[in-house]
């Protein structure tokens, strides 16, 4: 049957399916593939309308060769999913030219389904999922249409049939989705070509964090285990510790240096806070944690200074669970080596700053706390917290402290550490995020790239590493509110561009938050279901024993399939025939069966009526007439309708008589 020709409707549905499958990939497909694919669709339409013949095999061979060369040029050496999908799309496009028999159509639709699934490698939004569901419907309708007789031209039935197939499949999908064990990848695959993502880099120079402050991109989202989130002033999310200064940039400790540092000792002084982070892909290996995590999550590394690292750059959204304390003592004692590391400064440059620091050091009488107070007071006098601090040249710290006096958090943090170190107080720059927007609908905290922040940790005798945020001295409101709110209230020029006024309206914000909450739920419960699966199933099923899982799969599965089966056979299980004559005849058989003799299965209706005629003389003529009409209806060639018109009154008469007899 597979060599049968398919209907013209089916050809159109195939083309529509192909275009629908192609659409999600347009964002990244090389332009020539898109053009070729659309040209093939157009060519098939020309063939369809009879204006062009089916192409010669030489032409097809040429197209295949050209596409092959094009693929090598576009994707040579790249083994990521793009190359695979591009190859499949090209194959589909060329197959369109051959679309004639049912076999071709089947192959086309099967590959199209696969390509449709790959759309999720590139886009994972709810909208994409809804779109894909619609395309699956279209694809099933196309699959139904190729099974139809070539002559059929109705559009609706394939869609109806596809809907009837799809609807019961949805609960089945849900059950399987919830229960199917998520396996580790069987072999390592290259995820899509890394896209340029914004995020913290592993070094910091003035102006870099403030660039991030303009980005609306989502950084990560946190939900806390039932507890209220920590106060805004405690929402410091550490990512990197930068302890090496080269006169201009702050860097992470080199691997050799890191080996000399001991893992820092943490003494918790508050109850740990459990939370879960959903981190957006950053293309970088560092992870964020609320101030100080007690331990790393599975598969992560904890650096000596208690920041978290992933073994590989984060190329996809990940989810991990941590416990942190916000009140603690960290590393109360430093070795000489460590002390030396956190005091490192280049031997030259920024002389005026060094002089200022030693002046304060003398003023404070060698007490670090008083030194720090002097420093912060200095910042409070005449320094401006801004997103547009202007460029700094050589001796940037001198320039910042004595000339521009305008800066973003990284300027203040860098200068503070420099000043502290120059007088012998161990200090380091910490970068990460500060604050976050609380979403009351889904109860989570959302941090964007613009919440990126840099601050200082200073080591004080007897207290260990203590957080010191010079930005708080300059702009205390920034700590309490988000960057956005802070600069909007101040009307900072660098921030005003881009956003319309209406987005600030209260209802718009609420709407946006609802949408974001929905997105977060989507990310947590669908896209990252694997990290919820175990707990969820344990809660729902009361355990994870095999029998529970099997029952949980079989019971709903059987219920759905049973419902479909019942629906399929509904007419036979129902109340009997709908046809009035057949229904009345049935009633008559029941009544007369009780009164006289039941009809034997082997007996035809007419034979039975004739036996009754002998036993019920009053109605003999009616019975015999009915028997004759029944035979005529079954075997004769006379119009069915006409006979039925004559049978109905007879049946009614007999029914009345039978009732009267009782």
């Amino acid at each position: 049957m597979s060599r049968e020709q398919i209907s013209r409707n089916a050809v159109i549905l195939q083309l529509a399916t192909f275009v629908a499958v192609l659409l999600p990939h347009l964002s990244w497909l090389p332009g020539w593939i898109t053009l070729l694919a659309l040209a093939m669709v157009a060519a098939r339409l020309m063939i369809h309308s009879g204006r062009w013949p089916f192409p010669h095999w030489l032409l097809k061979l040429g197209l295949i060769a050209l596409s092959g060369v094009g693929l090598i040029i576009s994707f040579g050496g790249n083994t990521g999913p793009e190359a695979m999908v591009a190859l499949l799309v090209l194959g589909l496009a060329l197959k369109l030219l051959e679309l004639y028999h049912r076999r071709d159509a089947l192959i086309l639709l099967f590959v199209a389904l696969f390509v449709l699934a790959t759309a999720f490698l590139f886009h994972e939004s709810v909208w994409m999922a809804a779109y894909v569901l619609l395309v699956v419907w279209l694809l099933l309708a196309a699959l139904c249409a190729i099974q139809q007789r070539p002559g059929r031209t109705a559009w609706l039935p394939p869609f109806q049939r596809a809907f009837a197939l799809l609807l019961p499949a949805l609960p089945l999908m849900l059950v399987l989705f919830l229960l199917f064990p998520r396996l580790e990848p069987l072999w390592s695959v290259q995820l899509g070509t890394p896209r340029a993502t914004t995020g913290l880099s592993d070094s910091m120079s003035p102006g870099e964090v403030s660039e991030l402050a303009l980005s609306d991109a989502l950084a990560f989202r946190v939900s806390f285990d039932g507890e209220p989130p920590p106060a805004p002033a405690q929402r410091y999310w550490r990512a990197l510790v930068l302890s090496r200064f080269d006169g201009r940039r702050w860097h992470q400790a080199s691997p050799a240096q890191r080996n000399r540092l001991r893992a820092e000792k943490l003494i918790a002084q508050s109850e740990p806070l459990g939370y879960e982070i959903v981190l957006e892909p950053s293309g970088r290996p560092w992870l964020v944690a609320l101030d100080l995590p007690l331990a790393q999550a599975r598969g992560q590394r904890l650096s000596p200074f208690r920041t978290l690292l992933s073994p590989a750059p984060v190329e996809r959204r990940i989810q991990y669970r941590l416990a942190s304390v916000v009140d603690y003592r960290l590393q109360p004692l430093l070795t000489r080596q460590e002390r030396q590391h956190y005091l490192q400064l280049p031997g030259w440059g920024n002389e005026r700053s060094r002089a200022l620091a030693s002046h304060w050091w003398q003023q404070s009488g060698g007490e670090p706390e008083r030194f720090i107070r002097l420093l912060l007071e200095h910042f409070q006098r005449g320094f401006e917290y801004t997103l547009a601090p202007g460029a700094l040249g050589r001796d940037g710290i001198d320039q910042f402290l004595f000339q521009t006096t305008r800066g973003y958090c990284e300027h203040f943090a860098g200068a503070t550490v420099f000043l502290l170190r120059s007088v012998g107080i161990p200090a380091r720059v910490v970068t990460g995020y500060l604050g976050g927007e609380w979403n009351p609908y889904e109860n989570y905290l959302q941090l964007r790239q613009r919440d990126a922040h840099a601050w200082v940790e200073v080591w004080l005798q007897g207290r260990g590493w203590v957080r010191l945020d010079p930005t708080a001295a300059v702009a205390p409101e920034r700590i309490e509110s988000s960057t956005e709110q802070y600069f909007r209230q101040r009307g900072d020029a660098a921030f005003s561009g881009g956003r319309g006024f209406w987005l600030q309206a209260d209802w718009a914000r609420r709407l946006r938050q609802r949408y974001e909450a929905f997105n977060f739920a989507w990310h947590r419960w669908v896209l990252n279901y694997q990290s919820q699966q175990i707990t969820l199933l344990e809660n729902w099923l009361g355990g994870l024993e095999h029998w529970r899982l099997i029952l949980a799969l079989l019971l709903p599965g059987a219920a759905v399939l049973g419902a479909v089966l019942a629906w399929q056979l509904r007419q036979r299980l129902g109340a009997g025939p709908r046809d009035p004559l057949a229904r009345k005849l049935q009633r008559l058989q029941r009544l007369l069966g009780q009164r006289f003799a039941a009809r034997r299965p082997s007996q035809s209706l007419s034979a039975w009526l004739r036996t009754l005629a002998a036993r019920w003389p009053q109605q003999r003529t009616a019975l015999e007439q009915l028997a004759r009409l029944d035979e005529q209806q079954r075997y004769g060639r006379e119009s069915d309708h006409h006979l039925r018109q004559r049978m109905l009154p007879l049946v009614d008469q007999l029914l009345r008589a039978a009732r009267a007899q009782r």
Binding site: F110, L121, C144, L166, F177, Q568, L569, Q571, R578
Partner: protein, 322 residues
Amino acid sequence: MAEPLRTRLRGRVRRWALRRYPRSRSVTLTQNRIFILPTRAGAGFMLLLLLMLLLGINYENNLIYAITFLALGVFLVACLHTHGNLAGLKLQALRGNPCFAGEQAGFELELDHPAGRRRERIALQFERGVPLLIDLEQRNQRLELFCPAPARGWLHPGGLKLETGFPLGLFRAWTWIDLELWALVYPRPLEGELPVQQGNGHSGEAHQGQPAGSDDFIGLERFQPGMSPRQIDWKSYARGLGLQAKQFGAQRSPDLWLDLAALAGDLEQRLSRLTYWVLELSRRERRFGLRLGSQELPPEQGEHHRHEALQRLALYGRGGRG
């Protein structure tokens, strides 16, 4: 190797299915009569599902898992739909139409199914016949199926296979039923010399091979089906006397006897020759009798007589149905 094995397996399934239920005039397809298996396309679909699952596993993509499970769900539901396309269908054997050996015998069936459902693309086929593809939209439908009739006698078409791949072609549901259906197969007509014997001792040479005469008008007779329309007396019809047939002298001529014994050679060939002449004489509207060994069919003419003669020829020396 695979092909013969498959054919053998199919044959075994057919024999088993036909043995399970007795031959009957009417059959309702219940669940336990219907076999269902994935087609080659269905196997391809399962492979596709496996590939999609691998894609989901390797890229740890939950949405790909979801679309894979959705497709699996559709696959399972399609199995039920394919099954449902046959289940509940009622077949009623109507009659077998007579034919000549070497032709296709037609068998009339009535398909009946609960209203409100569409059944599409059901292929009906006798074991040796050609398939007929139908879409069922009304409540019941009559159709004629053909099966080759190789030899004269009563022909039973063998098992009837109903098969469907609807709606997605991923599954094939089929069933074998044995319907109480018989067709009478007449011998294949074979042209030849008229094996004639004039009845009642008259010498018949003069009439041998002579076409139906139209000599003298004798009178009118009531028109009966089977008479030639050329005989109709239109004048009396116009006078409102109903259809009357004109009778001519030649038709009263001495009766012809077709005799098996008058022919030599193979029995089947002789029967075939007689068949030819039964048809030919009936066409010429001649009276004739038929003598087959001890059986004798007195001279007569008309449709009924022709049928009677052909039936005797078909069944000569053959047992009944069975």
